[in-house]
């Protein structure tokens, strides 16, 4: 009856520097984009709620880290990406995209300006090789810009939740109060050199800590337990869920997915892909047509932007749905308006915070304008269940 365990590992997955920590915590591991990652440590619902009410700790070392350095790095990124990265001040971060010439999305990225001549590009694990190849090609003719893959030399640990800043503050000398949302600073965490950024993918306040792999266990242990290092025997079953000391629980990719969905944040492969434009995804603001010079995708994206301005595009739009039944609209299920299929669910899950199934879906723009804005039917395995159109995000922190 269970689909989940038919998934088999076909090639040898990569391990993060925190592999043995996850084993000691009794994590259920899963192959994600070629990496063996913690799916959950105990109950994913408890992990989700802990991030909303206290804090959760995530191993995100599978994410791709690519640096672009040199005096021409900013200009090179302005050409390669949709954002205006050369305008960032040192320490600032920006959510941006790598698009094809036709405007389709190859990946969504966070770019940090770490120094005047140094940018850190963080890519989805599944797209790291594509992003690296595209950046190398697009920056090849740039003067004074060097692209370098740092993924294997970088561990990434996120602490997310209302208690994140307080917990992190007790393990760093960095002045976190001056690190605003979407910015970062070099500092130390538990005595380890790190890039500390106030970013995340949960809809909560929180930080992402980039450090060398050899420091990962030390940083993790300090933030999870306040103790120097986790050592010795496996923890008793269930103990991973109970907040220890500082009120921080380890959280896996299952909780990360429901947290980002509630926060209305897109996931590459679900809401974003090469056949999706930033305008369809409701993310047109990441395309900086006002920046000087050409960039990859400018002509196509300018046309799409003109369609938006004239009200003739895009033809479909990303919406939020709240299910009336307890059956969950999931990725790929058809969205119906009466007897007509008007769209497709991109992501759906039971929302732990709201206590009902929620979903994002692409639907025809004509189906959400004027009088006809829902409710919609969702074809859930052959039976239609009703769902109401609701604004995104589903959840916003107080």
């Amino acid at each position: 009856m269970v689909n989940a365990y038919h998934a088999r590992v076909t090639s040898q997955p990569k391990h993060t520097p925190l592999r043995s920590v996850h084993e000691r915590l009794g994590a259920t591991m899963t192959d994600f984009a070629g990496w063996l990652m913690p799916l959950r440590y105990g109950s994913e619902t408890a992990e989700h709620l802990a991030v909303r009410s206290a804090a959760g700790l995530f191993d995100l070392s599978h994410m791709g880290e690519i640096t672009v350095t040199g005096p021409g790095a900013g200009a090179a990124l302005d050409y390669a990406l949709t954002g205006w990265l050369s305008r960032l001040s040192v320490g600032q971060a920006r959510y941006t995209m790598l698009c094809r010439a036709d405007g389709g999305i190859l990946d969504d990225l966070v770019v940090y300006r770490q120094a005047e001549d140094r940018f850190l590009v963080v890519a989805n694990a599944s797209n790291t090789s594509v992003v690296l190849a595209e950046l190398q090609e697009r920056c090849a003719t740039a003067v004074g810009a060097t692209v370098s893959d740092q993924t294997d030399r970088t561990a990434l640990i996120a602490i997310q939740g209302p208690n994140a800043a307080r917990v992190l503050a007790s393990h760093t000398a960095a002045a976190l109060g001056s690190v605003k949302y979407y910015s970062g600073v070099y500092g130390d965490v538990a005595g380890s050199p790190a890039w500390i950024a106030r970013t995340g993918y949960t809809g909560e306040d929180g930080f992402e800590i980039f450090c060398a792999p050899e420091y990962a266990e030390r940083v993790w242990a300090a933030l999870l337990t306040g103790e120097p290092l986790l050592t010795g025997a496996p923890l008793p079953a269930g103990s991973a869920v109970a907040p220890v000391g500082q009120g921080v629980v380890p959280a896996g990719l299952a909780a990360r997915d429901t947290l980002r969905l509630e926060a209305g944040m897109p996931l590459y492969g679900n809401e974003l892909g090469p056949d999706v434009s930033p305008y369809e995804a409701g993310l047109g603001k990441v395309v900086r047509l006002d920046k000087p010079g050409d960039f990859v995708g400018r002509a196509a994206l300018a046309e799409l932007a003109a369609d938006v301005a004239s009200g003739t595009g895009p033809g479909r739009t990303l919406v939020g749905l709240a299910a009336r039944s307890r059956r969950v609209p999931r990725h790929g299920y058809p969205v119906m308006s009466g007897d007509a299929e008007v769209g497709t669910v991109t992501s759906g899950a039971p929302s732990p915070t709201l206590g009902m199934p929620i979903a994002m879906a692409f639907v025809a723009a004509s189906a959400v304008t004027g009088e006809s804005a829902g409710p919609f039917g969702v074809d859930i395995r052959g039976r239609i269940e009703m769902a109401d159109l609701v604004p995104l995000p589903f959840y916003r922190k107080e």
Binding site: V2, A4, E44, A254, R326, R327, V328, R330, P350, R381
Partner: protein, 133 residues
Amino acid sequence: MSVPAELHYTEEHEWVSISGNVATIGITDYAASALGDVVYVNLPAVDAAVTAGEPCGEVESTKSVSDLFSPVDGQVAEVNEELDDDPGLVNAEPYGAGWMFRVRVPAGPDGDAALPPGLLSAAEYEELTKSAG
């Protein structure tokens, strides 16, 4: 993973307990763990006819939805209404309070409940879960 010796099992990870001509059915500890947190169980209606190997409900968890198969032929006698308010019982006590439905199974030639061929013993089921990794 717990696999109680006195129960029968299916390859679809249901367990069956026979008492007289009534079969009590749930999903195994292994299945509940693989699914993650169960958030909703869609059960057959009382008095509905169910057929061994045919889907008769759904189990929704955070990450996936799975068919619930009936391991036996018969008529649904009772469903576990507690699961409506607390589907987490399936994870907490898969062989106890997390049971799902009961089926009246017609008697076979010997007067006992007629069980379909192919049900697994605890040892056979344990072997199955090991080979599934």
